[in-house]
């Protein structure tokens, strides 16, 4: 298969040594070709990619670049023309997982390991063949009808057929992966979470022979993977030999995978999942904790230290909950009928001296989806931080053809090294903004590089604004980087809001930011402390007994 390293045209401080990485990749037997392509996230970069990839019988592609998800979405439509099957394509975010998380010398090993894991997964995916299943797939040959998948499916998409074998109802399956984690014979997989692939990826990790313990961390897609990425972008460094595996939910991790990792020589396996029940995929954390307890008991009997395998909970700060105005609630409990998570319970509250039946929200279970709010006939339920009134204001802001004056605002516009000059008339935009009361509009050539932000900081002078709206390109691509450079340039106290460079977008963004500031930030997770403790404990325990 082919490995493509993206060379970012932006000035990176101490970028990875491409030559050395290519050398390490040349030793990898699975890799037929490793190339460096400039600026993959641009149209020319994609063109260069399509020209350099050969495809063919052994087609497989691993792209090592900055952000995984946006690049994946960008390149996915081209897979067919490249002749690469969907499941033989992976994007490895080595910027986040190697360059930023492991500063200095260690970044090279981290990058090489991440790419090796991806190549092992792609190779395994070719061995087991491509699937076109849309949802969970059960291999009946290995199934022994224990029915655990049927029991643990949170949406009851898994049912039994006449012979007693489980089948998955495609239209109900949420692709959460609980069934994958539950199967004692490992015969269930999801199209993008195939057990053979993950196992192959884990088995390449054998540690580098140093004293630093090799740790595998499973991160869940909705919460801990983006949260950990964000923390790394903000400066968190990870222990030397910590490697990340992304899964859909902690409940999707089969214990056999943990066993594979340990028997390969990995010193510790960590589960980064949600804490105290707010699992967005329902009960995933509970299932994972239960299975882990079982496994730990077995490890104990096997004379392997139990604390090699741990569940680390990440407190979720996102869900603010739904507030209920009991004076307006008429106790109809329509909210209870529509709530996907069972977060509503009937309660008796004293309102104006009389006891009334009202609907209360269970704080820890409520995910702030807002479905109960839309169904409430009396408007008693309102999500905290995005009430109906606030949403109406946003609609007003979006519909207004005149602009709302905002005082003391600063707007920074980026013209992407001049590339946007023929698409956006910047001087016209600037005069529009000034007319409406924005007193400072700064124009930068390059906000995705540290120098751009240093210049912005200089231009701002002594008076730093509280908030700043940044009109630039896609936040998913460069958001973490822009925030990092802004922070390094001395703008960490300033709240940044990102939007596309058009005047109306800028204004609605500024309005939204003001509201967002009122809601708290910071999840307060002592993740760094937790990781440091685990590494210290592992060093005391000694290496995994399976390593020679």
């Amino acid at each position: 298969m082919e490995v493509v390293l993206c060379r970012c045209p932006g000035a990176q401080e101490n970028p990875l040594d491409e030559g050395r990485l290519l050398e390490l990749l040349s030793k990898n037997k699975r890799v037929s070709k490793a190339v460096v392509i400039e600026h993959l996230c641009s149209a020319e970069g994609v063109k260069r990619l399509t020209e350099s990839i050969d495809g063919g019988k052994d087609a497989g592609l691993v792209v090592a670049a900055c952000a995984a998800d946006p690049l994946y979405r960008l390149l996915k439509p081209h897979l067919e023309t490249l002749g690469i099957p969907r499941q033989a394509f992976e994007v490895v975010p080595i910027r986040d997982w190697a360059l930023w998380a492991h500063p200095g010398e260690r970044a090279m090993n981290a990058a090489n390991d991440a790419i090796r894991m991806a190549t092992a997964r792609v190779k395994a995916s070719k061995d087991i063949g491509q699937w076109n299943a849309g949802s969970a797939y059960i291999n009946k040959l290995g199934c022994d009808k224990c029915k655990r998948c049927v029991e643990e499916c949170p949406v009851k998409a898994c049912v039994l057929d006449e012979d007693g074998y489980p089948i998955v109802k495609q239209e109900l399956c949420q692709r959460c992966g609980m069934c994958v984690g539950s199967c004692p014979k490992q015969v269930i997989s999801l199209p993008d979470l195939r057990i053979e692939e993950i196992s192959a990826g884990l088995r390449v990790l054998k540690g580098d022979g140093s004293e630093e313990p090799t740790i595998v961390a499973f991160c869940c897609e909705p919460l801990t993977f983006p949260a950990l990425t964000a923390k790394v972008a903000q400066g968190l460094t990870l222990p030397n030999n910590l490697r990340i595996v992304k899964v859909s939910c902690m409940g999707a991790v089969n214990m056999a995978l943990v066993s594979d990792a340990l028997s390969s020589g990995v010193d510790s396996v960590l589960f980064f999942g949600c804490k105290d029940g707010p699992c967005r995929l329902r009960q995933g954390d509970e299932l994972a904790a239960r299975r882990l307890d079982n496994l730990r008991e077995t490890l104990d009997r096997m004379m392997i230290d139990m604390s090699r395998v741990r569940y680390i909970g990440w407190p979720e700060a996102v869900s603010d909950g739904v507030a209920v105005n009991f004076a307006r609630c008429n106790g109809c409990l329509t909210c209870q009928a529509v709530c996907p998570f069972g977060a509503v319970e009937a309660a008796e509250k004293k309102v104006a001296g009389k006891n009334r039946k009202v609907a209360e929200r269970k704080e820890l279970t409520c995910r702030s989806c807002g479905v109960c709010v839309a169904s409430c006939p009396s408007g008693a339920a309102q999500p905290i931080g995005s009430s109906d009134r606030q949403l109406m204001d946003e609609i007003d802001a979006a519909c207004w053809d005149g602009f709302q004056p905002v005082a003391g605002e600063v707007v920074v516009l980026c013209n992407c090294m001049g590339a946007l000059n023929d698409k956006i008339d910047f001087s016209h935009l600037e005069s529009n903004l000034r007319e409406e009361g924005i007193d400072r509009v700064l124009l930068s050539d390059r906000l995705c590089a540290p120098e751009g932000w240093v210049k912005v900081r200089e231009a701002l002078g002594a008076e730093l604004p509280h908030t700043m709206v940044v009109g630039a390109c896609a936040e998913e691509f460069f958001g973490p980087r822009m925030r990092k450079y802004a922070r390094e340039a001395g703008l960490s106290e300033v709240e940044l809001g990102f939007t596309e460079a058009s005047a109306s977008e800028i204004f609605s963004c500024a309005a939204r930011m003001k509201r967002a500031i009122q809601v708290g930030q910071e999840s307060g997770c002592e993740l760094a402390v937790c990781l440091a403790e685990q590494v210290a404990a592992l060093k005391l325990m000694g290496p995994n007994p399976f390593r020679e």
């Binding site: 994946y72 979405r73 996915k76 439509p77 949802s135 949170p154 949406v155 495609q170 239209e171 109900l172 399956c173 949420q174 692709r175 909705p222 967005r280 329902r282 529509v338 996907p340 998570f341 995910r367 702030s368 989806c369 807002g370 479905v371 709010v373 839309a374 169904s375 999500p383 995005s386 109906d388 949403l391 109406m392 946003e394 609609i395 007003d396 979006a398 519909c399 207004w400 053809d401 005149g402 698409k423 390109c473 896609a474 596309e500 058009s502 109306s504 977008e505 609605s508």
Partner: protein, 136 residues
């Protein structure tokens, strides 16, 4: 029609992955109001947008098996088609309100839906039925 660009307000679910970046250069104006889930969008918001002068409203949610909140999209499917019928009954051209359900990263469908909608609205002209005069 002397420089009139249709204004389309799109209530986009945060998890459906659509954004202005998917649309590229265009001769219509699409503005996004992001919500946690399509199920959050109640008819009052659609009405409010139309009253404030939007020429079209689009609700973009996720395919039912992909709803991040498991049945939020399904609840939206219950509220919103009924609204479509009511708006028709009220005399609003039905092409002005559309609902699209997207699978993960299905940007082509989103772009095509918006483009088709904008073409139809251009033929219909600005929203005259529901627009309120803004008292400023």
């Amino acid at each position: 029609m002397n420089g009139w660009r249709p204004l389309i307000i799109c209530f986009a679910c945060r998890h459906s992955g659509c954004s202005a970046a998917d649309l590229g250069a265009k001769d219509y104006d699409v503005r996004f109001v992001k919500v946690a889930c399509a199920g959050r969008v109640s008819p009052q918001f659609v009405m409010h947008a139309l009253q404030r002068g939007a020429d079209g409203v689009l609700v973009a949610g996720c395919a039912p098996s992909e709803c991040h909140f498991s049945s939020g999209a399904y609840q939206a499917r219950r509220h919103l088609p009924l609204l479509q019928q009511v708006l028709g009954f009220m005399g609003l051209e039905t092409q002005r309100f559309a609902i699209v359900w997207l699978e993960r990263a299905e940007t082509n469908l989103f772009r095509d839906t918006v483009q088709a909608m904008a073409e139809r609205i251009k033929l219909l002209g600005p929203n005259a039925v529901l627009r309120e005069e803004l008292k400023l």
